[in-house]
């Protein structure tokens, strides 16, 4: 984009979806990996290898949580390395993609 240099930083974005029960573990692992910022959306639903999950279901009450982390590439590698062995247990999914961080807010990555 035609913006002043330094306005955008090349970074990685990690999107994790896990079941509500695993959320705490995942966050703990992020903190272990010295993650300094993440965003969590609870009460998500979805379909996956373990079937459908619906946070509004009266009986099974099965919410998923979406966690988004924006961080530098080296940090992303670290996170993926720490998280990956546990993903089998957690289920869900973990995506990594490219993004650019617009500088301005206090650094929290």
């Amino acid at each position: 984009m035609a913006l002043e240099p330094g306005m955008l930083l090349r970074m990685k974005r990690i999107d994790v979806v896990v079941t509500g029960e695993s959320l705490e573990h995942v966050i703990k692992m992020f903190k272990d990996a010295q993650v300094r910022g993440y965003t969590v959306i609870k009460e998500a639903g979805g379909l996956g290898s373990t079937g459908e999950r619906n946070p509004e279901d009266y009986i099974l009450r099965e919410p998923n949580a979406v966690i988004v982390v924006a961080c530098e590439e080296t940090q992303a590698e670290k996170i993926v390395k720490i998280l990956q062995p546990e993903l089998k247990r957690f289920g869900g999914m973990c995506l990594v993609s490219d993004c650019e961080w617009v500088t301005g807010p206090a650094v929290s990555y």
Binding site: T50, G51, P55, E56, Y58, I59, L60, R61, E62
Partner: protein, 340 residues
């Protein structure tokens, strides 16, 4: 029992909910409202039960405890045999479904309470203990049946020990059961004047709140009912036959063994005839992931629950009345025999 006496508001609201679902109304209660009413109703029924128990001999409660354990263990086994032999249902689905029928539905129980209240019929204090107890054994039997099924299927035996332990803990820390037991304990402990202070909230307005709950459950049942086809004729018939079998057992136990009044027999029958949607479904989802949840949820909520609410409760009450007027309970018979 005239027809008008059957027009209990709670049941009519259930019908309204099903009707709303049938005509595809956009009526929808907020999910949190459902959770809140459930919390309120469980506390209310627990407190009331505890208060009643405080006034009665705890030793007299023991037979109810045994009956609850017997129901929780016996009914799933009956259900499993029927599902496997008559229905040729695959073992793991059969195990998961069976577990539900060993347990109880608090909604059905409360509807029965509302039904009896509408007729002005009194009942014993003990069935509410059964309500709280019956979830756990059913889950464990479900797990045993699943283990047995896996062995039939020749699959690698899962580590059932760990799962069993996990589920036993879950069954006792389950929020709903804890609320029920906790409220029962509180109702049992507090003094009469203290109880009077909270009675308006937990008893006076209970029946009205139950109506809103049942309207919501009617919509939920209607939604599940529409998944009817995917479940098949045999399972749907099972969803009606099994409560009848449970009811027969319940009537027998309630009258002959426990020797309760008509109201008490009706409640025991409802406990035996109803099937869980409190703690069992999530437990089976966890313990028997191979089973299809839409099977047991459709049966439990879409078939057995509405059947019990609309047809079952009045019939069980009529049968209890008939039994009570016609036969002596065994305890009485034995006593009469002894006295002679």
């Amino acid at each position: 029992m005239s027809i008008s006496s059957l027009l209990v508001p709670a049941i009519l609201f259930f019908a309204l909910g099903m009707f709303a679902c049938l005509i595809k109304s956009d009526l929808k209660f907020p999910p949190d409202m459902h959770k809140m009413i459930v919390i309120y109703l469980l506390i209310g029924i627990g407190l009331h039960g505890g208060k009643e128990l405080a006034g009665s001999n705890m030793a007299d409660a023991l037979p109810a405890v045994w009956a609850a354990l017997a129901f929780g263990c016996g009914l799933p086994i009956i259900a499993y045999i029927i599902l496997r032999w008559l229905g040729k249902i695959d073992p793991l689905n059969a195990a998961a479904i069976s577990a539900h029928y060993g347990s109880v539905s608090a909604g059905t129980y409360m509807t029965a309470v509302a039904f009896l209240a509408g007729l002005g019929v009194t009942y014993e204090a003990y069935p509410v203990i059964m309500l709280a107890i019956m979830e756990s054994p059913a889950i464990m039997i479900g797990l045993v049946l699943a283990g047995y099924s896996r062995r039939i299927l020749g699959g690698a035996a899962k580590n059932d020990k760990g799962m069993m332990k996990h589920l036993v803990i879950d069954a006792f820390t389950n929020g709903s059961i804890l609320l029920l037991f906790g409220a029962m304990a509180i109702g049992w402990m507090v003094s009469e004047p203290s109880y009077k202070k909270i009675e308006p909230f937990f008893e006076l307005i209970f029946m009205g709140a139950l109506c809103i709950f049942l309207c919501d459950m009617g919509m939920e049942a209607g939604k599940r009912l529409s998944e009817f086809k995917s479940v098949g004729v045999f399972l749907v018939s099972f969803g009606i036959a099994m409560p009848l079998i449970g009811a027969a057992v319940g009537l027998f136990v309630g009258h002959f063994l426990l020797g309760y009044s008509v109201g008490g027999i009706t409640l025991v029958t409802v406990l035996a005839a109803s099937c869980s949607y409190i703690a069992v479904p999530p437990a089976m989802r966890l313990a028997v992931p191979e089973a299809n949840p839409s099977f047991y949820l459709t049966l439990s909520l879409g078939v057995t629950f509405p059947f019990n609410v609309v047809v079952g409760i009045p019939s069980y009450y009529a049968a209890a009345q008939y039994l009570h007027e016609t036969y002596y309970p065994w305890g009485t018979v034995a006593q009469v025999a002894l006295n002679q």
